[in-house]
């Protein structure tokens, strides 16, 4: 946990340094008619840098005194997280191909079946019904266009929507 603290703080510091650097590049003084573009990022980056220096110093102090502390993720926790994260990444990649609603059908089916271990009837019912109603609400009633992907449009028109 303490190591993670240091690492995350260093990561934030990196963000601050990037903002700082870009602010310098864009110029942070007084431009023609007001603060130059880099003004805000410069000072924000500076602020982040200062704060993260404090955090890192403190964290290293504690680390030196008390050792690594609790582990960040408990036993088996990482597996659980990956079970959620990887399918989520997968479904969004799938969205690029066939569109969000169709991908959601598979995503829901996967989750309910594999993780929830429910009967096939429930799986199919839910994973078709939910995206269907979402599609009707958002696409037809609210008229918000949602990602259709490469082939999604044609598949949907096959299903005559």
């Amino acid at each position: 946990m303490r190591r993670a603290d240091i690492i995350v703080a260093l990561g934030m510091m990196l963000v601050g340094i990037i903002a700082l650097g870009d602010g310098i590049r864009l110029g942070f003084g007084w431009g023609m008619s007001g603060p130059m573009a880099g003004f805000f990022p410069f000072y924000m980056g500076l602020g982040i840098l200062i704060c993260t220096i404090f955090i890192v110093v403190k964290a290293i102090e504690v680390y030196r005194k008390d050792g690594p502390g609790k582990t960040l993720i408990q036993e088996g926790g990482l597996t659980q997280i990956l079970w959620i994260l990887i399918p989520a990444i997968g479904v969004f990649l799938l969205t690029e191909l066939i569109g969000l609603h169709l991908a959601a059908v598979f995503y829901l089916a996967f989750n309910i079946r594999v993780l929830g271990k429910m009967s096939w009837a429930k799986v199919i019912l839910l994973s078709v019904l939910v995206p269907l109603s979402v599609y009707i609400i958002f696409d037809k009633m609210f008229l918000i266009p949602l990602p259709e992907g490469l082939w999604g449009g044609s598949v949907l028109s096959l299903l005559s929507f």
Binding site: P35, L100, G116, P147
Partner: protein
Amino acid sequence: MGLQVALQPYNIMIACIGLVLGIVIGVLPGLGGANGVAILIPITFTMNPISAVILLACIYWGALYGGGICSILFNIPGEPWAVAATFDGYPMAKAGRAGKALVLSFLGHGVGEIFLTVEEGLKMEGVKAKVTFKDILEGLKELVIHAKVLVLGSLIGCWLGIQPGGATPASFKAYGFAKSSAKDKDQYGKGASSGIIAPEAAGHGAGTSATLPMITLGIPGSPTMAVIMGGLLIMGLQPGPMLFKEHPDFVWGLIGSIWVAHFLGLIIVMAFAPFFAAILRIKFSVLMPIIIYVCAIGAFAVNNRMIDIYYLLIFGVIGYLFKKLDYPIAPMVLALVLGSMAESTVRQALIMGRGNPLIFFRPSIALPLMLLAILLFVWPSISAWRKKIAAKQKTGGS
């Protein structure tokens, strides 16, 4: 006169429809008050202006309620200002008292709003809901116990809502005040009742008082108000002082219907509170993918870009790390909401001061505010430092 308009059956029906629509919109993460109102404006083109604004306003209130539902049940704030409600609402829900949490949130909302309509010059009647559920009874009892928090929260909300910035800072402020003046401080974060009442009362109070500057001065107090104002302009009604003179029936009809809608809203949401609480009993493996799915929709809908969905995942991971390492959420949310506003106003101030940073301290309004801000900023460090010194003195003296 206003009440006559508001209580016409057609308008009441419109109010109910608007409220339900608003709740649905507020509950769905990603589809917030401003979006929802904007999307539904075209529906109002065929209605008369009064009913149209009633509809839009009720969608707005409904969305305020809906955001609270989402925060309490899923720890996902449906709106930025609902984040404060997640602090205590979600633990309460997890402890099995979701119904109570919801009721408290709605009641806090309701009373906060009623305060506002009092400000607008109407007579106030007590909140007397027909009580049939044990949850509602308990909720009302708690409301009386925490009456001080309720009033304080509402007042904070009213005051902050009038200013641009809206409901988000109001709800956090109220939460902070309630927490620091509470007797059961360590209950906060674990399900303290006043931890819900305060931010919700403030949030709703602020949301309602945002109407004031919009109608009277034509300055929208929050993004959703800006959208509603746009709707008014489309209908040919110019908000501002002239509106009261030229279209008094419209203005008072609106105010009257806001009042009516508050009561209607209370009744509707309380009737449905157990229903919403039952949602929590759906298995996680079903609920979780649905939530991610709907969040992705919300993420995409902002800018119509796929990359926003990937950002969703990336920042989800980052947020997880932050949570694990106890980085506080509230400042980050405030920063996200107020950040771009802060940047543009700093810019404006600097231009006014021609580059001289002392501009922040010179005007007589700015100076005390800046000093106060600096004081609040260093206060935690100072008080921690003082505690250290006091402890050292004790051990040194004995």
